[in-house]
């Protein structure tokens, strides 16, 4: 229904009368239409052509926005998105037409493609910024020292107060356990695949890593639940959650590390081998240091990915309102399950706490990621 503003009869006739004068007034050359209108004597090779002045696209953009606003004011369309669409559509048409007339087809295509690429870039940023702004706006209101230091013990869902200390500790422990298991296994598996793996065995490992990448998180949770909890090996606990998260982390780490190791030039391996360095030392002292910054980034992305997992945690450790620092015994809270829990309670106070928990989770991931970038920067090979 947003498109009605574009397809309907009204805006398009509105657009035409505006675009035509713009085209003719902004074209700098009197004989617009001919692409090679310079003096042949001055430029016998035809190496110069007409270019639009730099301000023209901006002028068209401003004109298009004004047009969009006009559409809004005249009330022809009521939907809020429509003016933006009209403006964008008008800009594309007018700019392409102007450029085609003055500069020729190739430049017009170039400008059209450039505009589309910038537009998609901005569109891709919109949801990201939207989420960030919403979470910050709604979550910041409950942030207080108490929010970070207290638990939900004895806090009525309707009452304000309470905090995420128990959930934060749970997430730290569970993600920590997952990383402790998945990082060594994943990195070593990737080293095997890149440096040693040949033939069928490596092929199947690689294949199953790909399959694991596609495992839905709830399946990882179900697996731990049926294999370890129902059989009585573990109770519902932070450790079980860490194991489920490790399953999800593993393929991401293997793939990221593999990519990074593969881009280490073979010449470096040969150079070191030719110095009489044993292969294991070549891998440990040359290949891994060269790739370390990428490996760290990959590991951190994997950590960030599992830190927000909710479904498997609900199965294998469920919810807790109280601090439980012991990961091997009893339910443990975590940030994502805290958010889920508070949202499902549905009172204004608990929904506020849910937003606060979501913001805390985003900040946690952000801090991890920033830390990873800094560490990666320190270890990155330097050229100067």
């Amino acid at each position: 229904m947003d498109l009605s503003g574009l397809r309907g009869g009204a805006p398009v006739p509105d657009d035409r009368p505006q675009s035509t004068p713009v085209t003719s007034s902004e074209a700098p050359s009197p004989n617009a239409g001919s692409r090679r209108n310079r003096d042949d004597a001055a430029d016998p090779l035809h190496l110069t052509g007409n270019r639009l002045p730099r301000w023209v696209p901006w002028a068209i953009a401003v004109g298009s926005i004004i047009l969009g606003l006009l559409v809004q004011v005249t009330g022809i369309t009521v939907v809020g998105v429509a003016p933006g669409c009209v403006a964008a559509f008008a800009f594309l048409q007018v700019q392409t037409a102007t450029s085609w007339t003055v500069e020729g087809r190739r430049h017009a295509t170039d400008r059209l493609a450039t505009t589309l690429i910038y537009t998609t870039f901005v569109l891709a940023l919109v949801p990201l910024l939207w989420i960030l702004i919403t979470v910050i706006a709604k979550g910041l209101s409950v942030f207080s020292p108490e929010f970070f230091t207290s638990t939900m013990r004895n806090v009525n869902p309707r009452a304000e107060g309470g905090g995420i200390a128990h959930a934060f500790l749970g997430t730290l422990e569970q993600v920590g356990i997952a990383a402790l298991i998945a990082v060594p296994i994943g990195v070593l598996a990737a080293i095997y695949l890149v440096e040693f793996g040949k033939g069928k065995f490596a092929y199947w490992i690689s294949f199953f890593v790909d399959v694991m990448t596609g495992i839905p998180s709830i399946v990882a949770g179900l697996f731990i639940y049926t294999a370890l909890i129902l059989t009585g090996v573990l109770e519902q606990s932070g450790l079980a959650a860490g194991l489920a998260l490790a399953i999800l982390m593993l393929p991401v780490i293997v793939r990221a590390t593999e990519e990074m190791l593969r881009i280490v030039p073979n010449e470096l391996r040969e150079g070191a081998l030719a110095l009489g360095v044993p292969k294991w030392k070549v891998i440990l002292r040359i290949v891994i240091p060269t790739a370390i910054s990428g490996i760290i980034t990959g590991v951190m992305l994997a950590v960030a990915r599992v830190a927000g997992e909710t479904a498997p945690l609900l199965l294998v450790t469920f919810l807790a309102q109280d601090m439980n620092p012991n990961p091997v015994s009893g339910s443990q809270a975590s940030l994502p399950t805290f958010v889920w829990d508070q949202i499902s309670r549905g009172t204004p106070a608990s929904v506020d706490r849910a937003w606060g928990g979501a913001l805390a989770l985003i900040l946690f991931v952000l801090v991890m990621y920033a830390g990873a970038r800094i560490i990666a920067k320190i270890y990155a090979p330097k050229a100067r």
Binding site: A274, L275, G276, P278
Partner: protein, 259 residues
Amino acid sequence: MSKQIDLVDLDIYYGDFLAVQGVNLTVRANSVMSFIGPSGCGKSTVLRSINRMHEVIPGAHVKGEVNLDGENLYGPNVDPVLVRRTIGMVFQRPNPFPTMSIADNVIAGLKLEKDKKRKESMDEIVEKSLRGANLWEEVKDRLKRPGASLSGGQQQRLCIARAIAVEPQVLLMDEPCSALDPISTLAIEDLIRELKDRYTIIIVTHNMQQAGRVSDDTAFFNLSGIGKPGHLIEVGPTAQIFSHPECKQTEDYIAGRFG
């Protein structure tokens, strides 16, 4: 301290594919031998088989013998790591280790694999090796800077310094100047002539003038067709190969009539 190399009936394979067939060749101690021949004739393959770098490629193996002062490098219980420490190698493209400084690059082979017999300090080895590679004056004030900050020619000399720091007895060079400008090439050729006093050197080159300038002996390789194995066609003193080659093929190649 340099040694003589004898290749005896050497066949080199990549998997099932016979790449080079029946090479018999002697490289005298303290001499420079150049390998010439068209691309794909197996020069680099023969070179890499001399310090067992060949077998780094999956499926690659050899038949026959490579003898270093009479000791077969492909004999039982020969450790390829020790072979490579005795026979150093410089590659076509300079490959300094990007995570290491200039000084660390020079002593990389020593730091990664300690040689307890060496008494000199690391600083002494750095200076000695860089002087040996004619690079000391250019880099002595910036030894802590990354190896990748040097120019291409300097990087290649850094790689030579790195190779001679482990005190090998033989130095293999696989087109060491093909990525370098004429001035850097001159520096490396001068260096090769100096290094000859201490090492046995084999250099692969596509540049006939270079072969003529630096080498005492020249070996010409050729292959009879695509998919056929390469052969050693002729070997002899460089002056003779370039003026009175015995084989028509050699003469044609050197005269630029093919290849």
